[in-house]
C-alpha cells in the first residue's frame, strides 16, 4: 500500500494550515505556533512506485503550487516516515473516515486512476494530516483533534510522532 501526502510547496501560502492555526487559537490554545496541512491518500493495490508517482503528480496534486511525498506502508497503519518538508514538526494528527462511511473522493480517485491508463484494481482511502509545531500535551492534542479536526461520529484520528 502507498501513502501519498499532498502539501503546499514552500513559497506558496498553506491557507488550510493557516486557517486551522487561527481556529486553534480561537479555541483558547496558544501553545501551537505553526500548522502544516496535507491531503492524504492511502492507495491499496498492486501498484508500482512509478505508477504511484504518476498518480500523485498528475492526478492528486497541482503541479505549480503543490508537491507530494510517497511512502510504502504495511497496510495496517499509515504511519509512514516522511522527510518532513511540510513543517518542522514532531507531531502529526491524522484524520481518516471510519469504516463504512461513504468516501466520495475515494470513488472519484479510483475512476480517475483508470482514466490515467492504470488498469488495476485499487482501493483508496482519503484523509487529512496536520503537522503541528509548538509545546503541547497529549490532552491538548486530543482536544484540538476532537473539537476541530475530526468529527468523531464519522472520522477517527491518530496522534503520531514524526520520525
Amino acid at each position: 500500500m502507498f501513502s501519498i501526502e499532498i502539501f503546499t510547496k514552500s513559497g506558496f501560502k498553506d491557507s488550510r494550515g493557516g486557517h486551522v492555526l487561527a481556529d486553534i487559537v480561537s479555541l483558547g490554545f496558544n501553545c501551537i505556533n505553526k500548522v502544516g496541512y496535507c491531503n492524504l491518500y492511502l492507495i491499496d493495490g498492486k501498484l508500482l512506485l512509478n505508477e504511484a508517482k504518476l498518480i500523485a503528480s498528475c492526478l492528486l496534486s497541482d503541479k505549480i503550487t503543490e508537491s507530494y511525498n510517497i511512502a510504502k506502508c504495511d497496510g495496517k497503519d499509515s504511519n509512514c516516515s516522511f522527510n518532513n518538508n511540510v513543517v518542522a514538526s514532531k507531531t502529526m494528527i491524522e484524520v481518516l473516515y471510519k469504516k463504512g462511511v461513504t468516501d466520495t473522493v475515494s470513488s472519484s480517485v479510483i475512476k480517475a486512476v483508470k482514466d490515467l491508463g492504470i488498469n488495476k484494481d485499487i482501493k483508496v482511502k482519503t484523509g487529512h494530516r496536520y503537522y503541528l509545531s509548538g509545546k503541547f500535551s497529549k490532552t491538548v492534542l486530543d482536544n484540538i483533534a476532537c473539537k476541530l479536526l475530526a468529527n468523531t461520529l464519522i472520522q477517527e484520528y491518530k496522534i503520531k510522532s514524526v520520525k
Binding site: 486557517h19 487561527a22 481556529d23 480561537s26 479555541l27 483558547g28 471510519k98 463504512g100 462511511v101 461513504t102 468516501d103 466520495t104 470513488s107 472519484s108 473539537k147 476541530l148 468529527n151 461520529l153 464519522i154
Partner: protein
C-alpha cells in the same frame, strides 16, 4: 409467505401496549401507541406477524417527515388574549390555513401547488418556474459539512423530481446558528462549537452547489444562543420546467428504474429520526455524505432523457429512500420491487436496509417497457448507473422480493391512508405588548447605536459566506447578493434576479428570489413574526424590481416539540398569520415544509429552539432591464421614504443593544404596504427610481447607511421629515423596525412623476445624496445631529464576521 434468513419476522400480534411501545422505541420506528396498535390490528386481520421490512416500510411512510402528521392531524386549539379564551379545532391545519389561502386566491399563474416535490408558477407561454426550500437541521447538527451538503443535494433533487424534471438555475441558503463568539468552555458536551458548525455548514453548501455548477444567489443568516445545539439549515433551489413536462403519469406495467448513486447503510432511519429529539447518543448511520459529481451526471442525463420522452414519471429518493419514492409513485396502483437488484455500495445489507436507506443522489423513474433500452443507453453515456428493479402493478399492493422470496406484501391504501390521525392540544397566550419608556439618546449615543447595529451579528456583512459561493456560474445572475462600487465596497442586496436567457432563448423575463426571516420577533409573538417574515420577503423582492402581483411564497416552519401545547399553539398562531397575510397581500403559497421536534437534551436539561418561519419568495419579472440595486447612484438625487414609521422596537436590534424591555413588535399593515409595493414596481418600470432598499433589522438608520457606504456617496437625512404614526424620539424613528418601509432614491427631474404615482400614499422626502463622504442624520426638533465617515460605517459593518 416464504422468508429468507436475512429477513426477520417481528412478533407483534400478541404484544401488550407497553411491549408495542418498547418495540417502537427499540427499533427507532418513532410510531406512537395508537399507530402501533393500528399496525397490530392490520396484521391480526391478515393472521400473521409482519416482517422487519414491512414494519420499517410502515414506520417510514407514517413518519413525521413524510406524512407531516402533526400539521395534518387534529389540533384542539385554545387562544387566550386579554384573558379571553377562544377555542377552535383544526382537522388539518395546513389545509385550513396555508393551502386554503392558495385555493381561495385561485391564481391562474400557479401551475402546480402543494402536490409535487416543488411548487411551479408560470414563466412564459412554454415554461414554468419551480421553487422548493427544504430543511436539513438534525443531520447538520451531527455532521455540519455532510449534513448541509446533502441538504442542498436533496433540494436540487426535488427540483429534478418535480413534474418530469426541471433544470436547476439557482440555490438559496438560510441558516440559524448559535453565537460564534461563545466561549468554548460554555459549549455543552457532545455539541460542536457554533463556529465549527458555521464553517462546516457553509463549506458543505459551497462545495455541493459549486460542484453542481449551480449559483447560490440569495440567503440570510440569523444568530442566537437558541440555535447552538440545534442549528437550522434551509436550502432552496429554483429551476425552469417546460409546461408540457409538469404532469407525471404512472401506469401499471411501467418499469421501475433506479438511477444514480449506489445504496449503502447511509442515513438509515433519517425519516423516522427527524421525529426524534437529538441527544448525545444519536446514531452514526443517520449521517449522509453527498457526492455532487454523481448528481451532476444524473441531472445532465435525465434532462436529455426527459426531452426524448423516455419516461412517464420521476421522483427523488429523499427521506425514506426507495420506500418513500416508489411508495409515492405507486400509491394509487401498486408495485413489485426486487430488492436484490438494487446496486449496493457493499454487501451485507438487510433487505429492509436496502429499502429505506437514504443513500444520496438517487432518482426513481417509471419507464414504459418500449423505452427500456433507449433510456439505459442515455444514462450509460453519462456514466450513470441505471438498473431496473421492478414494475408498477394494478393490484394496489406493495410487494417486495429478495432472492425470489416475498419479504413484504402490504396493501397500498393501508400504507398511505391507514395512519390514524393524532389529536394534539395547542394553546397560545398572546402576550400583551407595552410601549417602552421613551428612548432618548444624545447625538453621540445615536452614532454609537448605529455603529453597534451595523456590527451586530444579525446585520453585519455576510461577505465571508457569500464570497465562498459561486453566485455567477451559468452567467445568468443579474442582481447579485452583494452590491456596490467594487469588490471592497459593497452592501447587502435585497433580492436576487436570474435572467434565464441561456435556457429560454430570446426571453426578456427574469426570476426574482428573496426571503424573510425574523426569529427575534417570534420570541414575543409568533403571529407578528410570520406576518413580518412574509412582508419582508415581499419587500425584498419588490426592492429589486419584483412585481407583487406575480409573486408566490414558500413556508418553512422549524419549531420545537409539538407535543407541548404552548409550542404547538404558537405554530397554529403563525399558520393563521400565514393565511391572513397571504390573502391580504394576494400572494399565494405554492409549497412548504415543516421540521418539528427541534429540541435537544443534554443530561436532564432540555433546550427548545425559538420558533422560526422562513418565507421564501419567487416571482417573474416582465423585463430584466427594469431591475435595480440598493446603493445610491448619484449626488444631488433626493431620498424618499415610503411607508410609515411606528414606535415598534420589540425584538429589534436596538432593544438588544440598549436592553429595552416591554416594546411593541412590528405589525404588518397590508392595506398600506400593497399600494406602495405596486407603486414601486410601476415606478421602477418607468425608470423613476435609481435605488431602493427596505428598512428591516436595524431600521432606517442602518438601511440608509448601507445605501450610502456601498455607493461611496454621502447622505443628509432630516429626521423631522420622516413620517411617523405616533410621537417618537429620534432614536425610536431611526431604529424602529416597522414593516412596510422603503428608502428610495429619485433624480430631481423625475420627482413630479414619482410623486404622481404615490399620490395619497405615505411618502416623505427626507434628504439628499451628497458628494461628501459622510452620513449625516439631524433633528432640529430634538437638537441632535451626528455625522460619520462612510469608511468607518463600512468597516463597522464589514468586520464582525471575517474569519
Amino acid at each position: 409467505m416464504k422468508f429468507v434468513t436475512n429477513c426477520n419476522i417481528v412478533e407483534i400480534l400478541n404484544l401488550s401496549d407497553k411491549q408495542l411501545l418498547d418495540l417502537s422505541k427499540r427499533k427507532v420506528l418513532s410510531l406512537s401507541l395508537t399507530e402501533m396498535k393500528t399496525v397490530q390490528e392490520y396484521f391480526k386481520k391478515l393472521k400473521r406477524n409482519p416482517t422487519d421490512v414491512e414494519m420499517e416500510t410502515i414506520a417510514q411512510t407514517w413518519s413525521e417527515h413524510c406524512k407531516h402528521k402533526t400539521l395534518t392531524g387534529i389540533i384542539e386549539y385554545i387562544q387566550i388574549k386579554n384573558g379571553k379564551k377562544t377555542k377552535k379545532t383544526y382537522n388539518n391545519l395546513l389545509k385550513e390555513t396555508i393551502f386554503k389561502a392558495t385555493v381561495e386566491l385561485n391564481k391562474k399563474w400557479c401551475l402546480s401547488v402543494f402536490k409535487d416535490n416543488a411548487g411551479i408558477i408560470d414563466f412564459d407561454l412554454k415554461n414554468g418556474v419551480a421553487f422548493k426550500v427544504e430543511t436539513h437541521n438534525h443531520p447538520s447538527a451531527l455532521e455540519p459539512y455532510g449534513g448541509s451538503a446533502t441538504g442542498i443535494g436533496g433540494v436540487v433533487r426535488d427540483i429534478l423530481g418535480v413534474g418530469l424534471g426541471a433544470k436547476p438555475l439557482a440555490n438559496t441558503d438560510v441558516f440559524c446558528f448559535g453565537d460564534p463568539t461563545t466561549k468554548p468552555s460554555k459549549v455543552p458536551k457532545g455539541v460542536h462549537h457554533p463556529k465549527r458548525i458555521i464553517k462546516g455548514v457553509v463549506s458543505g453548501v459551497r462545495d455541493y452547489g459549486n460542484r453542481m455548477g449551480i449559483p447560490t444567489v440569495n440567503g440570510s443568516v440569523y444568530f442566537d444562543h437558541d440555535y447552538m445545539a440545534n442549528p437550522l439549515v434551509f436550502c432552496g433551489t429554483m429551476g425552469v420546467i417546460p409546461k408540457n413536462k409538469i404532469e407525471k403519469k404512472v401506469s401499471p406495467g411501467d418499469l421501475i428504474l433506479v438511477v444514480g448513486g449506489r445504496t449503502g447503510r447511509d442515513g438509515i432511519h433519517g425519516a423516522t429520526f427527524s421525529s426524534v429529539q437529538l441527544d448525545q447518543s444519536s446514531d452514526v448511520s443517520a449521517v449522509q455524505i453527498g457526492n455532487p459529481i454523481v448528481e451532476k451526471k444524473v441531472l445532465d442525463a435525465m434532462l436529455s432523457a426527459r426531452d426524448l420522452n423516455l419516461y412517464r414519471a420521476v421522483t427523488d429518493c429523499g427521506a425514506g429512500g426507495l420506500s418513500s419514492a416508489i411508495g409515492e409513485l405507486g400509491e394509487k396502483i401498486g408495485a413489485v420491487v426486487c430488492l436484490d437488484k438494487v446496486p449496493l455500495k457493499y454487501d451485507g445489507l438487510y433487505p429492509w436496509e436496502i429499502w429505506i436507506s437514504e443513500a444520496q443522489e438517487r432518482m426513481v423513474f417509471a419507464v414504459e417497457p418500449k423505452n427500456k433500452k433507449k433510456i439505459i443507453e442515455i444514462f450509460k453515456k453519462e456514466n450513470v448507473e441505471a438498473v431496473f428493479i421492478g414494475q408498477f402493478t394494478k393490484d394496489k399492493k406493495l410487494v417486495l422480493k429478495y432472492d425470489k422470496n416475498t419479504v413484504a406484501n402490504i396493501d397500498m391504501p393501508f400504507l398511505h391512508d391507514g395512519i390514524p390521525k393524532p389529536t394534539r392540544k395547542a394553546e397560545c397566550k398572546i402576550k400583551e405588548e407595552k410601549l417602552q419608556k421613551t428612548v432618548k439618546l444624545t447625538s453621540s449615543e445615536l452614532l454609537m447605536v448605529l455603529k453597534k447595529s451595523l456590527a451586530d451579528l444579525n446585520v453585519c456583512s455576510k461577505e465571508w459566506i457569500i464570497r465562498q459561493y459561486d453566485h455567477e456560474v451559468l452567467g445568468q445572475t443579474i442582481i447579485k447578493p452583494l452590491q456596490g462600487n467594487n469588490i471592497e465596497i459593497s452592501g447587502p442586496g435585497d433580492g436576487a434576479v436570474i435572467f434565464p436567457y441561456a435556457v429560454i432563448k430570446g426571453t426578456k423575463k427574469g426570476i426574482v428570489l428573496s426571503n424573510g426571516l425574523n426569529p427575534s420577533y417570534g420570541k414575543i409573538n409568533t403571529y407578528k413574526m410570520a406576518a413580518s417574515a412574509i412582508e419582508e420577503a415581499l419587500r425584498n423582492a419588490v426592492c429589486v424590481g419584483g412585481n407583487i402581483e406575480k409573486l408566490a411564497i414558500l413556508d418553512n416552519f422549524c419549531w420545537g416539540n409539538p407535543n407541548k401545547p404552548e409550542i404547538l399553539g404558537s405554530l397554529v398562531c403563525s399558520a393563521n398569520a400565514c393565511y391572513e397575510m397571504s390573502k391580504a397581500f394576494s400572494v399565494p403559497f405554492i409549497s412548504g415544509k415543516d421540521s418539528l421536534h427541534n429540541e435537544y437534551s443534554i443530561g436532564d436539561k432540555k433546550f427548545s429552539i425559538s420558533p422560526v418561519l422562513l418565507i421564501s419568495a419567487v416571482g417573474v419579472i416582465e423585463d430584466v432591464a427594469n431591475t435595480i440595486t440598493m446603493p445610491f447612484k448619484n449626488s444631488g438625487n433626493k431620498v424618499y421614504i415610503l411607508g410609515v414609521t411606528r414606535n415598534e422596537l420589540g425584538g429589534s436590534v436596538i432593544s438588544k443593544i440598549k436592553n429595552i424591555k416591554d416594546a411593541i413588535v412590528p405589525n404588518v399593515y397590508p392595506k398600506e404596504s400593497v399600494p406602495i409595493m405596486k407603486g414601486i414596481y410601476k415606478a421602477i418600470g418607468k425608470g423613476l427610481i435609481e435605488s431602493c432598499h427596505d428598512a428591516s433589522e436595524g431600521g432606517l438608520a442602518v438601511a440608509v447607511s448601507e445605501m450610502s457606504f456601498s455607493s461611496g456617496y454621502g447622505v443628509n437625512i432630516n429626521i423631522d421629515h420622516i413620517k411617523t404614526a405616533d410621537t417618537m424620539s429620534a432614536a425610536e424613528i431611526l431604529f424602529s423596525e416597522s414593516n412596510g418601509r422603503f428608502i428610495v432614491e429619485v433624480e430631481p427631474k423625475n420627482e413630479s412623476r414619482f410623486k404622481e404615482i404615490f399620490k395619497g400614499l405615505s411618502v416623505s422626502e427626507v434628504g439628499c445624496v451628497s458628494d461628501n463622504k459622510f452620513v449625516i442624520f439631524e433633528s432640529q426638533k430634538e437638537k441632535v445631529k451626528f455625522k460619520e465617515k462612510l469608511i468607518n460605517l463600512l468597516n463597522a459593518w464589514k468586520h464582525t464576521i471575517n474569519w
